[in-house]
Amino acid sequence: MAIPLFSGKVAAGFPSPADDYIEKNLDLNELLVQKPAATFFVRAQGESMLGAGIHPNDILVVDRSIDPVPGKIVICALNGELTVKRLARDNEQWQLKAENPDYPDIVIYEELDMVIWGVVTNVIHAL
């Protein structure tokens, strides 16, 4: 999708004096996707991350190449299922935290079948 960006107002009916000033097109990819090869879109289900502004049916932009450091919202494969949670580290203990009081935090133990899949960078939410 390409939306031309004007730096002046457009006069209807006249050849616009701003024509010469079209500077570039705005591309949402430029805003949302840093590494195309590592960026995937997934669809959110459930309400565990409402507090982070992730609603059911939203599209999440996920960059697999970003370091999953504490504080990031991550997609992880937990017991074979893709899930979105906030990665946290309290007192040396890694956790996956929901942002909804109705959902319990998940403590990451050694033996837990858990792999971090990618880091969520943006939420696309239709109004």
Binding site: K35, A37, A38, F41, V42, I59, R64, A77, E81, W117
Partner: protein
Amino acid sequence: MQTLLALVDCNNFYVSCERVFRPDLIRKPMLVLSNNDGCVVARSKEVKDLGIKMGVPLFQIQQLVKQHQIKLFSSNYTLYADMSSRVMSTLEAFAPTMEVYSIDEAFLDLTGVCYQDPIAYGHLIKKTVVRATGIPVCVGMGPTKTLAKLANFAAKKWCKTGGVLDLSDPVRREKLMRIVPVGEVWGIGSRTTVKLQHLGIHSVWDLATQSSQRIQSQFNIVVAKTVMELNGTSCFQLEEISANKQQIVCSRSFSRRLTEYKELFEALAEFCSRAGEKLRRQHSVTGCLTIFIRTSPFNIHEPQYQRSATIKLGAATQDTRILINAADRLLKEIFKTGYSYQKCGVQLSLIRSESTPGQFELFDISDNDLPMENRPLMATVDQINRRFPKAISIAATGFEQSWKPRAERISPRYTTDWQELAHVK
């Protein structure tokens, strides 16, 4: 400076693509089936360990599938192509020159890039690719393509290597070559292998220590070059620019036998559309169209029939409508009623760049009433279809397409269709 080439090869590529979006299937036995869900085209390690071979028909292994609850997938080429391009563009950052060798392999020229510690560099490539794309790879390195390929084979086979192996060192090279059978060498096919074995050449080392002149006299120049490559002399160059295809083929087996002209023509029209699309994507035109139709060679109790027909086009074209028109005329010549057709296909040849001035006839007296070439129309159709897949098709391709090959176990197109994204809880 010594040349250093790397072959990066994805592990069980199709299986790995499926697993990126289905972490529940990691470490589970699974396999991917060919078009029409007929034969095995990719196997997970667990399936290889069961002794299931590449290419076997599904019906021959039904028992094992049941017994071990092997997960089956129809091939999802849309997904595999997208994942492949992600892997390849991730690899581009690691070498100034690269050859995409197949959907899941690429040669990288690492000469002078990582002379201090090639192994560490190999591990970095491996780690970066799996991290970015979810696809695990192995890295084989050596001074020639053949050695890089051999190193990759060994890196895959022996987990002790950690998936990265460099065969630049002649001592290590010899050690490995002595224990690998000659048939594993790149470019040595099964027939050559048998012939080599008759001459007492069993291991890679046996081949590498032959004189290339003797091999050339008994085999051919390619095998002789392979001998030189095994000894570290580069004979096969990196082919950077993926040459445009000189031939485009589209064919499929049907999900059921077809008997009517109309059905067969619809299938051919569909293949013409796809071939035309491929042709336009590589900015080419074709001067020659061949179609073929055939009954199933496996149904020995039914009457057999197979024919092909070719037409040289008056003017080279990239217009799907012209291809379909020509296919229709050809089919009328070779179609016979009373047979159950199992497969058909189209092939385009005499392909050249669309910008080459062709022998467009002065008066396009299409002896044949073919429609006039309309490039802007086709470009518009392609543009719309890229945005809305399958939005526009030529009516001749039919609407039901009940002949379409079976793909009952196909996974979603996770990366190319907004409606089929993976779900996260």
